[in-house]
């Protein structure tokens, strides 16, 4: 039997890649701070979930922080992002404020989606963040559409469409990749391979030698990199983004990463992987610890600063929770708001027929 575990390309000296070499110390600290903020936010949300303040699903991103932070740090004015339901990390990485993010989890009207979307449905179009999406793979054609829009409007930009390793098998993903290849769209398909879709390891879900390799069938550029090192994520994705921005070419990037928690908080992992496997990753490849070491070696971080960043991140998460606690819920009247543009703007309404609504 052919092993389905493919070797992963490691970018040698990612720290020295031009895109990283030009980072100032402050910018590096900011990358580090964002990862810590994501982690503390999610740990706080987990506690809120456990005390039943949050309903529905809560899919935590813990362990994968370097991917979202690395990727989103490369965004320019005309670069866009879309992702799946494991979306808290990307939301913080693009610069959304944690108060409204936490309030959304609590189902409050002050949430980023007014309590209508919940954990899986964060959006911030003003930050070129087109959301968290609940249907596995469903966001990928939308990502292609964002890239189409960028190209159509003649902008020098791109769209990064994130998905998990399980999503890659959905038909819609392949239709989208084909279109991106066919029409030379500036789309970067980012596969966050955390090795599991729910309780199914990638080896049990995907035929063929690997995931990114499938891009070859569409004549699309592909690459792989390790996801626990933010420098490496940046170096790898930057090449693809430049290809998109400068030549309007798509690419598929498979990033090797890992999630520490169960698929969702309601769905803990007891059966499909070992404690040792998780501990092994946590010990050797924790993205925050790895970057902390790197930056300490570079002399950018010291003990005091590390502590200060961590304390600030904890305080921020606590403040977000307080904001969420103290915010009001939507009212039943809010259920029928935001359904149609027209009913929210009655004075500018143009439809003649009845919407049979309200």
């Amino acid at each position: 039997m052919v092993s389905k575990e493919t070797p992963t390309t490691t970018i040698t000296d990612a720290a020295k890649a031009a895109i990283n070499a030009q980072l100032s110390a402050d910018e590096k600290i900011e990358l580090y701070r964002k990862m810590v903020r994501i982690r503390r936010f999610e740990e706080r949300s987990l506690r809120a979930y456990q005390s039943k303040k949050i309903g529905g699903f809560l899919h935590l991103y813990i362990g994968q922080e370097a991917v979202a932070v690395g990727a989103c740090s490369l965004m320019g004015e005309h670069d866009h992002v879309i992702t799946a339901y494991r979306d808290h990390g990307h939301a913080i990485a693009v610069g959304m404020e944690t108060g409204p993010l936490m309030a959304e989890l609590y189902g409050k009207v002050t949430g980023c989606s007014k309590g209508k979307g919940g954990s899986m449905h964060y959006f911030a179009p003003d930050k070129n963040y087109w959301g968290g999406h609940g249907i596995v793979g469903g966001q990928i054609p939308l990502g292609t559409g964002l890239a189409y829009g960028v190209k159509y409007q003649g902008k020098k930009g791109s769209a990064m469409a994130f998905m998990g390793d399980g999503a890659v098998n959905q038909g819609a993903v392949h239709e989208a990749m084909n279109l991106a290849g066919l029409w030379d769209l500036p789309c970067v398909f980012v596969i966050e391979n955390n090795r599991y879709s729910m309780g199914t390891s990638q080896i049990r879900s995907s035929a063929g030698p690997g995931l990114a390799e499938r891009a070859a069938g569409y004549g699309i550029h592909w690459a792989k990199c390790l996801g626990h090192d933010v420098y490496e994520v940046r170096a790898c994705l930057n090449d693809c983004l430049e290809l998109a921005r400068n030549e309007s070419k798509p690419s598929v990037v498979e990033i090797d990463t890992y999630r520490y928690r169960g698929h969702s908080v309601a769905d803990p992992d007891k059966t499909y992987r070992t404690r040792d496997e998780i501990d092994e990753y946590r010990k050797n490849k924790d993205p925050i610890a790895v970057f902390q070491r790197e930056l300490s070696d570079e002399g950018v971080l010291n003990e005091d600063l590390i502590k200060e960043i961590d304390t600030a991140a904890r305080e921020e998460a606590e403040k977000a929770a307080t904001f969420a606690e103290e915010s009001p819920f939507p009212t039943p009247a809010d259920i029928q708001r935001d359904v149609y543009w027209e009913t929210d703007h009655p004075e500018q309404r143009t439809s003649k027929g009845r919407l049979f609504f309200s």
Partner: protein, 327 residues
């Protein structure tokens, strides 16, 4: 009779039919090693092995289509959708293939597939995960649509669905999995598809309903009896297609008033169809306009305390029933 949960009732039906007929297979995302996202299939892999209990990748169009193809050869696949909400991903296979193949082939090909899984809202998972697709599915001749409200119905109807020679869409309600009820252990206990069940006899008002709304209606009926001396009859459709309109009409002839309760958005819903059929066949019997309680017309809201308000609940049924009787 032993008391078991709705979840166990579905599981027992699956186990008994898997045992009875080796052409039955269970297939879906996480159904085998993970025991099912809602633990419906717990223990089945151990008992029946990986040939009969099959994990699939997240590929609804692919695996549902595969099941439809296999059913054309006489396999009897039971396909689990992790959520019925994901039917949309497999929509083309479900409607263009499963619903049409028998007709297009002039009756040469049968499609004895069951597609089942949890549907409906109430678990605060937002718009993409809270669909109630029974009206959309039932709009297509060639398919059957079943929505059980109790553990006993879940078991008896699923067994019939698996033995049925047409595509049957079996919609379990996520909120009902923990519901307990008495269920017979008779291995041939079959509840025929298309037979409604009068869950409560009454004389003043007919509530026509199905699924979780049956429970709301029964609770409201008890309250109305106690507090208002109003005697409500509750008719549980159990299957949307075939639809047992005769049982509904018989009840209307007795009570002359109708309230429809459905966990559906109101536009072009199952209740819309019912209301039309009742006025078509029993207009003279009605002493008052038909009214209904539905889900408030909007995509499912996440916010937990507000989602409760969006769905039919006992209070809304109670108020509407009073209105129906007093008008």
């Amino acid at each position: 009779m032993p008391e078991i949960t709705y979840r166990e009732a579905v599981r027992h039906a699956l186990a008994e039919e898997l045992e009875r007929d080796e052409n039955v297979v269970l297939m879906g995302e996480e159904v085998a090693q993970f025991n099912g996202a809602y633990k419906v299939s717990e223990g089945l892999l151990e008992k029946f092995g990986p040939k009969r209990i099959v994990d699939t990748p997240i590929t609804e169009a692919g695996f549902i289509g595969t099941g439809i193809g296999a059913s054309m050869l006489g396999i009897r696949p039971v396909m689990e959708l992790m959520f019925w909400s994901f039917y949309s991903v497999a929509f083309d296979q479900i409607l263009n293939n499963a619903a049409n193949v028998r007709y297009m082939s002039g009756g040469l090909i049968n499609c004895p597939i069951v597609i089942r899984g949890p549907a409906n809202g109430g678990t605060n998972v937002g718009a993409t995960h809270s669909h109630t697709p029974e009206n959309v599915l039932a709009n297509h001749p060639g398919v059957k649509v079943v929505v059980p409200a109790t553990p006993a119905d879940a078991k008896g109807l699923l067994k019939s669905a698996i033995r049925d020679n047409d595509p049957v869409f079996f919609l379990e309600n996520t909120m009902l999995y923990g519901l307990k009820g008495e269920v017979s252990e008779d291995k041939d206990l079959l509840i025929p598809l298309g037979v409604a069940d009068v869950k409560r006899e009454g004389t003043d008002l007919t509530i026509v309903t199905y699924g979780r709304s049956v429970l709301h209606s029964l609770e409201a009926a008890e309250k109305l009896a106690k507090e208002e001396k109003i005697n409500v009859e509750v008719v549980d459709l159990r299957s949307i297609r075939p639809l047992d309109i005769d049982t509904v009409l018989k009840s209307v002839a007795k009570t002359h008033r109708v309230l429809i309760v459905e966990e559906q958005k109101p536009f072009a819903s199952v209740g819309t169809q019912l209301g039309f059929m009742i006025q078509e066949e029993a207009f003279d019997q009605l002493d008052a306009p038909i009214i209904r309680v539905t889900t408030i017309d909007a995509p499912a809201i996440y916010s937990p305390p507000v989602e409760v308000e969006q769905l039919p609940n006992v209070d809304r049924v109670y108020t509407a029933a009073l209105q129906a009787v007093k008008s």
